[in-house]
Amino acid sequence: MQFDDGFIAVVKKDCPTCVLIEPVLKDIEGRGLPITIFFQDESDFLSTSKNIDDTSLEASYFLNIETVPSLIKIEKGEEAIRVVGWERSEWQEFFGEQELGMSLPHWKPGCGSLSVEEGVPERLAVEFGRVNFYSRKIKIPSLVDDIEYCYEQGWTDGLPVIPPTEERVLKMLNGSPRLPNELIGSVPPHSVNCTVVKVAINAVMAGCKPEYFPIVLAAVDAALDDRFCLGGLLATTWFSGPMVVVNGPIREAVDMNWSGNLLGQGNRANATIGRALQLVVRNVGGGHPKGTDQSTFGTPVKYGLCFAEDEKTPWTTLAEDQGIARDRSAVTVFSADGPLGCVDQNSRAPEGVVKSLAGSLRSINHVEMANASDAVILIGPEHGRVFDLAGWSKADAVSALHDNLFIDGADLGMTSDDALADDLISSKNKVPKFREEGLRLIRAGGDAGLFSAIIPGWLMKGELGTDPVTKEI
């Protein structure tokens, strides 16, 4: 949009300052200065002659008006000076005129421009073409319900999605400095290239707020890391889905839950971030249940599972263990089946809690199977206190768990790897239930309850399966 050389004023009737300075605008016009008045709402308070209807807010948008009244001087087609609100001497200097508005107060601040009200900048950017990303636009027929349309296209996980309008997607993109057309990676199972904007579209659909978007992007980055083996995780007949754990200051910034009911319903960030990742897999990658996703039972985790860690404990955090400082934020993705509760209301010493946890851990997959999956263990606050009071670090707890998790070779009726089992049975007759890095302890949960939660996953075997992946946000 081009503007002629001269003076521009942008006003709205709903602004008392604009109404106050109206006589000054009339005075300026009377002095023969070339002034054009753009009004954002109504013009009946204006007695000037060159008033332009800007109820579409197009001029306000292209002039980047944040406050009304705004005065702008255009010279050779470019903005030379800008003044906002009413300050008498500033206006006098701007117009190069003395004795302006002498009957008015010296100063009165302006009001917010209609063009910057909630949601309006995105609408204007879409309307006036300053959208710098690519995604195919689909027009929903006028009599069709938007949400039903999304269902019909196969874009949902069975729950309703928010229709991804351009305005909503633009708002989501504004939640991250990453460029919309940046390629993030290739999404299985169809190995489809995925851009930041495609993630934003699915984050909108999942119900994310823009401030969650950096977490969603980091989660997608992590899930597409080859070590995570997302394609295999999607396709397996086993239960698992991806689980996202968040560390660092961003947890509090976006109001995530790491306390009571953290694995359950009710917190928007927890509920939608993991869902956004799963919608990317579904919609971008083409991974559909009973299609490439061959899971025998599935798991509620496949709707999306995301939570944060309680970092107010003596233990190092999950992200710290991966070399990320506590004042930085990070996500870690795991494969996860769903939680198994472990109760121990008797032990007052860590050895007892370890024994209880080990007993429960022994049963995952099959009591006679070793080295098949890793497990994440959410240590609840009341169990955590037992470790803390005894001065046990996380490493102490992990080490004690491994010591309690050897299976007698003679009991190894089931194994995920014949050769490995044969080797282990013959070599030492005691088989570790988990690989060395296969137990990851996370502090979380509500204050009451001497419980912990065991979350096993799928085939965590490094290069032969999946590994958890941590990415800094």
């Binding site: 995604s135 195919r136 636009k137 689909i138 027009k139 929903i140 027929p141 006028s142 938007d146 349309y149 999304c150 874009w155 229709p163 991804p164 309008t165 351009e166 997607v169 999404v187 169809h190 190995s191 489809v192 290239n193 995925c194 904007v197 495609k198 579209i201 699915n202 659909m205 083996c229 394609g231 295999g232 397996t236 919608l279 919609n283 971008v284 990658g285 083409g286 995920s416 790897d417 014949d418 085939l459 075997k461 290069e463 032969l464 399966g465 999946t466």
Partner: protein
């Protein structure tokens, strides 16, 4: 009022590839047996190798390092350039 939404898909449907016509006979063809590293898959494929070899079919054996991941490119290229027909041992 009709609304406009943005396509959440990759907008790139994988192209449908026409499978090769199935041969009426294995005479003169090389058969690949692909073990995807599922438990006992080798038992099944060993038996197939014996049976096909008895019938004079040329058999080549292949193995994926893990069933959890797609086959490495080198393995795919080897199979596609050296055999005419593949049998894959998929199940547990």
């Amino acid at each position: 009022m009709s609304s406009i939404v943005l396509d959440p898909t990759g907008e790139l449907e994988p192209s449908f590839r026409q499978p090769l016509a199935k041969p009426n006979s294995l005479e003169g063809l090389t058969l690949g047996l692909l073990d995807i590293s599922k438990a006992k898959g080798n038992v099944f494929l060993d038996r197939l190798e014996t049976l096909f070899s008895e019938k004079g079919v040329v058999v080549r054996r292949y193995k994926k390092p893990t069933f959890a991941r797609p086959a490495p490119t080198e393995l795919l290229q080897d199979i596609s350039t050296n055999v005419d027909v593949v049998i894959e041992g998929l199940a547990d």
